[in-house]
Subunit: 386 residues, 4 copies
């Protein structure tokens, strides 16, 4: 059982759909399929903006956004509430930008008012970069407020919503998002290998009016605009099977309905936190209202190690979870609940195995307490179930 | 989540293996594959007896055994501890046998000493028929003792171990079993559509020395002997894809090892019963030592109906369980734990959803109590896990 | 490449659909799926009659028809134009019927006028049994005329259209067919393991009014009537994955449309014969108008053996074909062109490999002559293609 | 039928293997799987050099090679014998290199002696870039001779063998190849989405000793060295399912053996050319000895258009081929014969449909002539078949 923080376990339907026979990318049937998939992606992003499906894992989309937008000397306000937010500064630097950092501890979230103040102090900021859902910390930033403040200041936003899309609410147009980058392998429950992007007209304009627009590169978003959006041609061979899998997970999410799909993630994350607290464990997030829906980060229990807990959960009970990443290594571990795992059966199984593992390790918990509290906190599942 | 009493949820590997391209049945590669599968089946049956794979669900094997062995006037001691045991009398009658019934209530198991007495009283009994694992009741009969008593009396046994094979121990030679019929869709975690049979030399002899041996029929076991065993030809077209799936589940079980494979079923069934009792529910089986490993039957809680409990578990939480069958309808419901479901994660999920459902229905239980007790009763899972 | 006479190669879509997760047979979703599949089967049979899906390869359906209809002493006019027609007499005898045989050589087809004469001579005939498409001979009988003559005489027909359905035209009501038995693994391009049956009201009546109606048996068709048709329950566990595959192939055929689907088989069979003749080989069928659409039987070329031709085609070139069956062994070999193989690409590949193989064996043929003639004889494929 | 120039049709085994459940990339089982796959890739490359699997279609590997090796002002001798060779100059320019072009017409191949002369004339050349197999032209360059000349001059080579690996012979060490980039979706018969690279020690050294080594980018090869090769960690999330598919096709090729695997491509390409010539069509390649094994390019027959030929082959007969690419559009069309299509059955089918299509279009050809000539030219297939 893959209960990690992504790539996540995919549904059997996704696996079957991914196994459709590989078509030549210029087969008219594939062209049509790619277009259809793009339309579904727009619906999942709940946007009228153009969408672009770049053919590499989401880090490609993030680097592409940096490379396509940032020119040497551009000021970028980068919000840091975790490992991924911090890492983005490498891209800013690589493409010549000057980072202005607004940081909080890695168990906290950005206060929108601090964003406002930072933008007031730095009137020449051109871009704001923010991680919507900080997977390594299991926290989420208040994207809506942040995006709208950026818009007030005429600042373009670059949004890492890799593990946010379909797990948290999102609205590019009304939230002031200019380039939003998501991954299929997180809340959508798909396979890794693609960057899902929504691009505002202002972002297109910024890319095109750059001193030296980025074209003719695997990193170029404009290549996709001129080739695919304007001509239904591909800048290079797309990853056919990944597109099959993407179409499948987008369809599955839309059949459930985005509102209910997101609500499931919200409900399961809340239930998971209730279970963790009932076991006497500590949530990593400074407060519950900033906890992400993609996974729940748990402070490493005193006296236990990652290898003990996660190793035993996997080796003995077959449940794969995620550890701390980068500088968070050893400080926390994470239970994923994305895609098909955003379901009471998965949550119960994960929680029960965590309990059993802690008991095996002589950590004082009451078997069943976590599952019981989680199930109690589920809320009215019938309203959002199948 | 299919947590029913069979057909059960199959592993992704089984699904992939079943999807191997369909071969012409006389392709040498298929002949070899069928032979290989037969060898694996012998290993799973832990027998040197011939095995036969009849090409229809296990009821075919049971009817075939009756039709192939019983002649008009033959006395058959039929042991009845549940619906399936009782139904077998229809086959005895259809093929002209005279049934001597030894019955116990449907929540109980046969006492081997009663078998001895019955055989002492009825010296002309030719066959003894017995259900190893009474799926509808969630109970198991003491097959080893029964088989050995039959052997003492020179009585041939016809054994319905449809849901027993791979979940309960079994040894055709040393337990005195002559025709044992199993199904792939139960503890082996496979797909329905085949009858898996082990046939003793005495059983072959009985079939061949019958006044009118059954040949030239879909019901004929002898057809498989003369065609397949003796000539590596098929009496008719086998179900190619089902053979693929069978080979897969046999391989998976053997990779784990039959001893550990069975031990998992034993451990999960025990844990399940512990959970049920902790919730204050009543096991259907009169006593735990006769409970089957394939599924746990639970007396319908007072004031609740099958539709309420099972309907809600499925419709709201996506967990499919089984109800009471035949005359047991409404009296009990059953949690399956066979094949891939013979695992702590599945058990925790089933139990948690049962708890949540009972709570939804205002039935007084403590959320988490069942899961906690089940996990506590698991025993040393690391000894039998992957 | 499986170019045999069945089980045939199935499409990738069929394999994917067959791999849908196994459901408990009483899961409401499966009940609905089985009902849906039954409706599709009616459309493929182009009938309003009840359809029954028996859970074993088509020989089960044929034996079931005999066992369910024939009572001791019943006279059955059995038409024999090949191995399968002759074999049916074993079933007639087994269930007590008296066979009146009307036979032609195994490369010929029944003359309907001979049927009329036989019925005129035998006024007490109760059933007429006929093979629609004699797969082992690659010939077809004039079923429409035969069925209508039987109807004139008030004789019920038992029709083996195992390899006929979807490859030859068929209309139970207007052709006077009472029990028609087909297999999914032939022209429908599906997997073996099921009997597809259309049953006329008169046939139902005959089964029910038999002195001892066959019930409570794997061979009973009436069990399916009372359980499934009248109660949407199963007489025993159905082969879930086979039903998945069946639904898939029925859907695929209906999407093409039955008229075009059959026309493809007709056109490819015609083209195949043209190719064979162009190579100087001899068709087994006495005349082209009686050739079947399922496969083309070719008289074994002088001086060559089955092992040489078919062995080399398979071992060197990976093309599996079928040999002669039963008493036709060694006298002919067969190229299958059913389901996905009813396509010019498959035909070209089979024919080219046959040519190359014959040349390897120093048999005097002109490479390309067969493929060229086949392609020339294709007719207007665009009218019946995708 | 996908008979295009790639992505090609994949085997059913590849599709099943690709559908293995998605693992978390840091699951120890996946780490081991990735390592195993890397070892297989080395064997397929027949090299002891390090291999790198970059997570994007082969153009990523090509751009990465340019970005990782070329510094502003570096002189690159770029060999141009087709569209892809020419395009590479965009990458050279983008990363600051100065291109010295050695070009031949797009139906010809580079003469190694011209390479020697060019290097003699340009002693400051640092890199030589060459396309091994020019897919758009269906031609191959004499890579061995070219690589060895480059080595003589101490020039590092960047080799686009995207459609060469596994279809043409290749030996990084003895042929003087420094960075070789291949794709799984060509002769290996896999799915698109990865760059398969072999890197010589000299190439590593060049990347590391560059004024500003490329790190921290999706384009960085060094990231893979430091993360994966040195630490068994991933620079970012790999495309899990693509790795599954890659392992599968590598295994399939190695089971056949690389020598035989390549020999099949050589034999089928030769047979294809024989068929084309027999139809009176003109090969695009100036002479046969420079024809590639991946696909056969055919000069557009006078009076016919791409839409007529390829459109009809696909729309009526379901055979997808490739057209002319870039400036070759309309001038030629291509029959692919890679991976599973490198087989006589595929070739016969493609050729027969081409013939039938030309005849439909009233183009004067003799039906069967192409297939016949192709089969005649096959050579001793038994030596290289299964």
């Amino acid at each position: 059982m893959n209960a990690a923080a992504g790539p996540v376990e995919v549904t059997d339907r996704t696996l079957r759909d991914q196994a459709r026979p590989v078509l030549y990318h210029y087969d008219p049937a594939f062209i049509e399929f790619f277009e259809h998939t793009s339309r579904l992606l727009q619906q999942v992003f709940q946007t009228q903006y153009d969408v672009v499906i770049m053919q590499g894992e989401a880090i490609l989309g993030l680097e592409a956004a940096s490379a396509s937008l940032i020119s040497p000397g551009d000021k970028v306000l980068n919000l840091v509430s975790g490992v991924f937010g911090k890492w983005f500064e490498d891209f800013i630097a690589k493409y010549g930008g000057d980072t202005i950092e607004l940081a909080v501890p890695y168990n906290d979230a950005i206060d929108p008012e601090d964003v406002r103040k930072a933008l007031q102090r730095n009137r020449d900021v051109k871009f704001l970069s923010v991680v919507h859902s900080e997977t390594p910390s299991g926290t989420a930033n208040p994207l809506r407020a942040i995006g709208n403040i950026a818009r007030e200041f005429g600042v373009l936003t670059i949004v890492d919503t890799v593990s946010g899309l379909a797990g948290e609410n999102l609205s590019p147009e009304s939230w002031g998002l200019d380039v939003a980058v998501a991954g299929p392998q997180k809340c959508l429950g798909g396979t890794p290998g693609l960057s899902l992007m929504a691009i505002s007209p202002a972002a297109w304009k910024a890319m095109e009016s750059k001193p030296s627009p980025l074209r003719g590169s695997f990193l170029s978003i404009l290549d996709w605009k001129s080739a695919w959006i304007e001509g239904h041609r591909f800048p290079y061979t797309p990853s056919v099977s990944e597109i099959y899998a993407l179409e499948s997970v987008l369809s599955q999410a839309l059949e459930i309905g985005m509102e209910r799909y997101v609500a499931r993630h919200v409900a399961i994350a809340r239930a998971c936190r209730a279970g963790i607290k009932a076991l006497g464990l500590e949530l990593w997030a400074a407060r519950e209202e900033i906890a992400a829906t993609c996974c729940t980060a748990i402070t490493m229990p005193a006296g236990l190690t990652d290898a003990q807990i996660r190793g035993r959960m996997r080796d003995v009970y077959g449940v794969m979870t995620s550890g701390g990443y980068g500088e968070l290594a050893g400080k926390l571990f994470r239970l994923g609940h994305m895609g098909k795992a955003a379901h009471p059966t998965y949550l119960a199984a994960e929680m029960a195995i965590l309990e059993r593992t802690l008991a095996d390790l002589r950590y004082p918990i009451e078997l069943g307490a976590g599952v019981g509290a989680a199930m109690a906190a589920l809320g009215e599942w019938s309203a959002i179930s199948g």
